[in-house]
Subunit: 344 residues, 2 copies
Amino acid sequence: MATATLTIDLSALCDNWRALNSMTACETAAVVKADGYGLGATRVARALQHAGVTRFFVAAAEEGASLREALGPGPEINVFSGHMAGDTDMISDMTLTPMLNSAEQMLRHFEALPSAPFGVQLDTGMNRLGMEPAEWASLRDIALELGPTLIMSHLACADDPGHPMNPQQLALFRELTDGLGVPRSLSATGGILLGEDYHFDLCRPGVGLYGGLPFVDATPVTRLDIPVIQTRSVLPGESVGYSNTWIAERPSRIATIAAGYADGIIRAMGEKAWLHSGDTPCKVVGRISMDMIGVDVTDLPEEPASLQLLGRHQSVDTLADAAGTIGYEILTSMGARYGRRYTS
Amino acid sequence: MATATLTIDLSALCDNWRALNSMTACETAAVVKADGYGLGATRVARALQHAGVTRFFVAAAEEGASLREALGPGPEINVFSGHMAGDTDMISDMTLTPMLNSAEQMLRHFEALPSAPFGVQLDTGMNRLGMEPAEWASLRDIALELGPTLIMSHLACADDPGHPMNPQQLALFRELTDGLGVPRSLSATGGILLGEDYHFDLCRPGVGLYGGLPFVDATPVTRLDIPVIQTRSVLPGESVGYSNTWIAERPSRIATIAAGYADGIIRAMGEKAWLHSGDTPCKVVGRISMDMIGVDVTDLPEEPASLQLLGRHQSVDTLADAAGTIGYEILTSMGARYGRRYTS
């Protein structure tokens, strides 16, 4: 067994959904795009469906189509990227609900599938997805007549509670949608934590479900154990790994573990990353290779069969710090070679 | 269609193999680990098999097993991580050839599968995989009696032709293997370029096949076209993307494209990355999101339906520079959501 094991705690995932759900008085959906933030959309969504989720969000119609196959006809599946050219059959056949982002998408949807459900995404300042206020003003009446299931927008700075962008986006969202009588959604995980003003009729957490910041009280969902291929003695002055970047300063025991940047262990973290054997931290030495990493296990009483990269001692966000990125990217980079084991 | 298209030129791949093969007088294998460096091991290996490759290398027995299913019983499949605990059935059932890395692996292999083929990997200074010289001295005679198919080692600094580590590893490899009468292999792509002293009986290129450095004369293999979800006007002073990191300085047109760090577009590259529409470069603006990226398309004469991240104007190595990494990581991070189109 030369591949690592990624253990995904579906109970913790559902606990996180329940915890986020209990913070609001509104409905709580679940975002399962990017293959369920790297943890397996099918298994993740089925567990959440069982826990009570009836509305899911994905990025692309292609993701929605495979989610529909996994979940059956019940839940509503919303597509953030809306109704793009070539999406019509998927949207229709798989009963997806596109969040329409532009006049172009609206026209496409209303012409091709005039009686099919849709939502509307408005831009309130992030300038990424959604209709601009002027565009919305000119198309609002037509859209409302056809009965959107949801009007939504997305916060650019919700991870930073004190950012002035948050109340600014909130005010614009209210201005664009107050009194329309259509269900509204503004917040993902960060927005839920900003308080009830941001909740409206539906919240749609993503990263918090998977145990990531900004949901500091999240229960960890992932554990990653990587087998040791072999362990060797290295004398002071000897180097380890590509380009000889690490030189031993003491007689050392170096374990080579069976995972690398091809498995999503971002190469940039290099020697800033640590692994654990039980409670003992063990430092990465040398460059991260494609399929292997050197780890200093000199201080362990015996040779480990595996070392842990994610788990009790290290979260996706700790690991993200080592790579100079965010927990989201650690999650979505989880390697295809890992054996995925689901517990509940 | 809200997902990008990764076009993989199998002719270019095979041309690269032929070019590398023509630089040596020895046999040339192919390394197809990490899902064929992210391009799809099955399709890549089948094309190379058709071009004449009869020996493949993978990192883990699990990879070897699925490669065997793809290729049938003909070619030899070598496993760099050797014979690990739990691998015996896979090695035996799928006729894999483990490169034994330690006394422990040797014992395991000889006890469990005494008549099954094997190679030996020696460590010549990288301190990552392979038997140490002292270990080899004590086990060599036993190993030789059982007839290894190959004795191999791996260069730590082959991408840097002037590095003193190269002749040092070469000398030690000779010392450990001269006169044994067993086929030998020391070089991957970088080693092939170091010249015939490094070639021995078999070379085993990886990254060069896929169009990456250090093989500067490689033919590009990958093209990545990302659809535009929508384009919007942004006024001076308006921000784009998470945390408002980009502020428009002129009236701008901003396209939101349908790929992000969940697709392996490393978040760290941020605004250092460029895309192309035809021959016109277009700069990334704002942070790379999980599923989307903002791109400044103000200077284009018309709104693009898609933008190109990899292709004629930008190689995996150019893109790697933007992310502060190496082309290898760009390749192995290629996203699962991309539609893969193979041309030949």
